[in-house]
């Protein structure tokens, strides 16, 4: 029988948490495998994230969420510099409409200050008029948190994965974990692509973290999906607001927000609905209505005509706090579960925490001298000037070959995205923005399919939206 290599650490899930952990671990002399059931990283929970880098204003000081959010907010800046990501420190405003709400803002402020959130201040009506002219004039004050920011959630995942890969981590996509056998010591991980062995297993399986954990006999938590519907506005509305706009939070969520994004298009949402089905990514009429009402309470000028796209995401919620722990009942198994908001922000801090747990539990972490901390920044014509574009076109004619007209994406960017790992139409969309504009891919789909087909030597009929079963076409036209 062929012998199966034993990885030092095996990470289940290539969302932002798994990717951040893999990248952090790749600093050390370890063999690392990342298993992802989908065709590409970031295709689970992470793809429908709002992209907000939270300042830490809405989590108790004693919680993992609070501590890791605050730490992640700092780490994300360094990661963005190293990995060539556009992090924008937009700042956030939590808006109050009544005197009572101002009292609540003061409570939030003092709790956040205990946690250590920097730069908080209460701003008045005059400040709001000056700095946020489209805000509902009935707003009387807001809590301003300058350290809030925005980032592209999927490009963050891709950057982390690419860098981890460069530093030796191995990625296995379309590899679904079916069972885990505790071999004392170590684990055998049975997957849809065969068996893997590892000394340590990190469960970052998002919505499926409970089921994965149960495979090693730890079943004391349940992931309860909480749906969030979000609606994307035309990028003509980029300057609708100057900050992220929040209402006062409710018990279960931060409420309906007006969100700036790293790509320009504002977004409104999300809803917070408990659902049973972990695959229920549908949007509803009620969802639209609710989001629309909530968003217009903050910015009354938002119109339904501004909406160009919408989607649903599922938060992998489990109780009030993150579950990040070494399982003594299955030594070598670490659960990283229930990572809902502020999970994206916290991910880099979670990664460091997991490394700390591994070290404490006896894994030797010896730094690589040749760790490559940087990644070359991918070029996106949509966020550079025309004079820079002109220079690029002279270097490579492919930058002048525009594929996606709504978002101005060139053939060269698409080819680079495929070189970096895109294998599906969604993968191209998340990396380049092609198909994400107002025409929704009507004009560029065929060209993108052809580029993907040529570069990956795949027939056009096998090109998928997001993996097997989602082929764009049903076959070739039958010639009579």
């Amino acid at each position: 029988m062929k012998s199966v290599p034993v990885f030092d650490v095996l990470v289940i899930g290539a969302g932002v948490v798994g990717a951040a952990i893999a990248r952090e671990l790749s600093r050390y002399k370890l063999s690392i495998a990342v298993l992802e059931k989908e065709e590409e990283p970031a295709f689970g929970v992470s793809k429908s994230n709002s992209g907000i880098i939270h300042p830490g204003t809405q989590n108790p000081a004693g919680s993992l969420k609070g501590r890791l959010c605050l730490e992640g907010n700092i780490l994300i800046r360094e990661i963005s510099r190293e990995l060539g990501l556009d992090f924008k420190e937009a700042g956030e405003l939590i808006v109050a409409f009544t005197q009572d709400e101002i009292q609540r803002l003061l409570t939030i402020k003092s709790e956040a200050e205990t946690l250590g959130v920097p730069g908080l201040k209460i701003v008045d009506m005059a400040w709001l008029r000056e700095n946020e002219p489209n805000l509902n004039p009935e707003a009387i004050a807001a809590l301003y948190a300058p350290s809030a920011g925005v980032i592209s959630p999927y490009r963050l995942v891709y950057a982390l994965c690419e860098n981890a890969l460069k530093n030796g981590a191995e990625f296995y996509t379309q590899t679904k974990v079916e069972n885990i056998i505790f071999t004392k010591p170590g684990f055998e991980i049975q997957t849809s692509k065969g068996m893997f062995k590892a000394r340590y297993v990190i469960n970052a399986a998002g919505l499926y973290a409970d089921e994965t954990s149960a495979m090693v006999g730890i079943n004391d938590f349940r992931i309860a999906p909480r749906k969030g519907q979000e609606f994307i506005l035309d990028n003509k509305k980029e300057n609708l607001t100057n900050h992220l706009i929040f209402p006062l939070p409710s018990k279960v969520s931060k409420g309906i927000l007006v969100i700036k994004t790293a790509d320009g298009n504002p977004m409104i949402g999300p809803t917070a609905e408990e659902v049973e089905d972990k695959e229920d990514f549908s949007t509803t009429e009620e969802g639209l209505k609710k989001v629309f009402e909530g968003a217009r309470k903050l910015v009354p000028s938002i119109s339904q005509d501004d909406i160009i796209a919408y989607f649903s995401g599922l938060r992998p919620a489990s109780g009030d706090d993150f579950i990040i722990r070494y399982e003594d009942k299955a030594p070598g198994f670490i659960n990283v579960a229930g990572i809902q908001s502020p999970g994206l922000t916290a991910a880099p801090a979670i990664a460091k925490m997991v490394c700390g747990i591994l070290r404490e539990k006896g894994l030797q972490l010896e730094k690589k001298e040749d760790f490559i901390c940087e990644r070359e920044k991918p070029i996106h014509l949509f966020n550079i000037s025309l004079s820079e574009t002109e220079k690029l076109i002279k270097q490579d004619a492919g930058y002048g070959d525009i594929v996606c007209r709504c978002e101005m994406v060139s053939a060269k960017e698409v080819q680079d995205a495929i070189t970096a790992g895109a294998r599906t139409m969604d993968g191209i969309k998340f990396r380049t923005r092609a198909q994400s504009g107002r025409c929704h891919g009507s004009f560029c789909t065929t060209r993108l399919m052809k580029i993907l087909s040529e570069k990956t030597k795949t027939p056009l009929t096998a090109i998928t939206k997001s993996g097997k079963g989602s082929e764009i076409v049903k076959g070739e036209r039958v010639s009579l």
Binding site: I308, A397, G400, S442, K465, K474
Partner: protein, 325 residues
């Protein structure tokens, strides 16, 4: 920065007619930009007949109709054609920037005609709830996949909306051996031409549901089914009227919206509802020397009318240039 008398953006039926007419009206320094690799625009994928009945008094296919103009354009050496050329910026002084493989060019034009056509309204613009699997296409994209790329987008199709492209695609899918299970139209009557309703839907026995709309799209990886409901005269859902249709493909044919992002960038006044330029006279904008013709000026039913009005745009631009002295 180089200079040109007239720059025309878009070489579909509108742009080509405007270019020829401007030449015939005396303009001798014309640049015609086309983002695709060939002239003719969307006509190239419209392989059905019905074009030219009023303009040429003949029944032509889209490519045949386009070819008559392409031949003329190619014969006029004063019309410089630049393919794979994508306009990215326009100012209110008619300075136009475009890029093409290998170059970025900036041109000061005496007059500009925008003949940029239209895009299809999307599922998102009519807020159809549900999932977002593979198998949801704009009717025009499905047409391109079949007629240009030789691919079959789906086998069991439901068409949402009864715009002309959707109706024509009903017949096209059937001819390719696919099953068209329904055309669903929210209004009481078809949006498309009567001849298309008769020849593309009724003649093939396709169920045509008027006063109905899609309540939800289902499917994880690929479309699996749609829920349909009847609506009353206020377009409100009729209680207990829901039924489902199994299908693997949904075509969206809910109208066109003019592409006027560049003139908006230049500062021309735009009607937010229709996305068309606000102007006193056909083909004009609020910016002197900036003209818009064809489907970017307003949505036409027939290409014959596009040609007629775009010829007028070429003439208007020539007059304007002459007036500058």
């Amino acid at each position: 920065m180089c200079e040109k008398d007239l720059v025309i953006v878009g070489a579909g039926p509108a742009g080509m007619a405007a270019a020829i007419s401007a030449y015939e009206s005396g303009v001798r320094d014309i640049l015609l930009l086309e983002r695709d690799q060939y002239l003719g625009g969307i006509l190239n994928q419209c392989i059905h007949t019905g074009f030219g009945l009023t303009y040429f008094k003949e029944n032509l296919t889209g490519p045949e109709y386009a070819h008559r103009f392409i031949k003329k354009i190619n014969a006029i050496k004063e019309i410089e054609v630049s393919l794979k050329s994508f306009a990215v910026h326009l100012t209110n002084e008619n300075v136009l920037t475009y890029i093409k493989p290998g170059a970025l060019e900036k041109i000061k034009a005496k007059a500009v005609i925008m003949a940029t056509g239209a895009r299809e309204r999307t599922r998102e613009m009519v807020h159809i709830p549900g999932t977002r699997p593979a198998g949801i296409f704009s009717a025009g994209l499905a047409q391109k996949l079949i007629n240009i790329e030789g691919l079959l987008p789906g086998r069991e199709v439901v068409i949402i909306g009864s715009g002309d492209i959707g109706l024509i695609m009903a017949r096209r899918f059937i001819l390719e051996g696919a099953k068209v299970k329904a055309v669903i139209e929210i209004q009481k009557q078809s949006r498309g031409l009567t001849r298309n309703v008769v020849q593309c839907v009724e003649d093939f026995g396709v169920p045509f549901y008027l006063s109905h709309r899609i309540a939800k799209i289902h499917g994880k990886n690929r479309v699996e089914k749609v829920d349909v409901v009847r609506v009353d005269e206020h377009l409100h859902e009729v209680a207990d009227s829901m039924f489902s249709i199994e299908c693997d493909t949904v075509l969206i044919s809910v109208g066109l919206i003019p592409e006027n992002e560049l003139i908006e960038m230049a500062g021309a006044v735009i009607d937010k509802k229709t996305n068309t330029p606000v102007a006193q006279e056909i083909n004009k904008t609020s910016i002197p020397g900036l003209f818009v013709c064809g489907n970017s000026f307003k949505i036409y039913d027939l290409v014959d009318s596009v040609s007629k009005d775009s010829i007028h745009a070429g003439y208007q631009a020539a007059e304007y240039i002459r007036g500058l002295g």
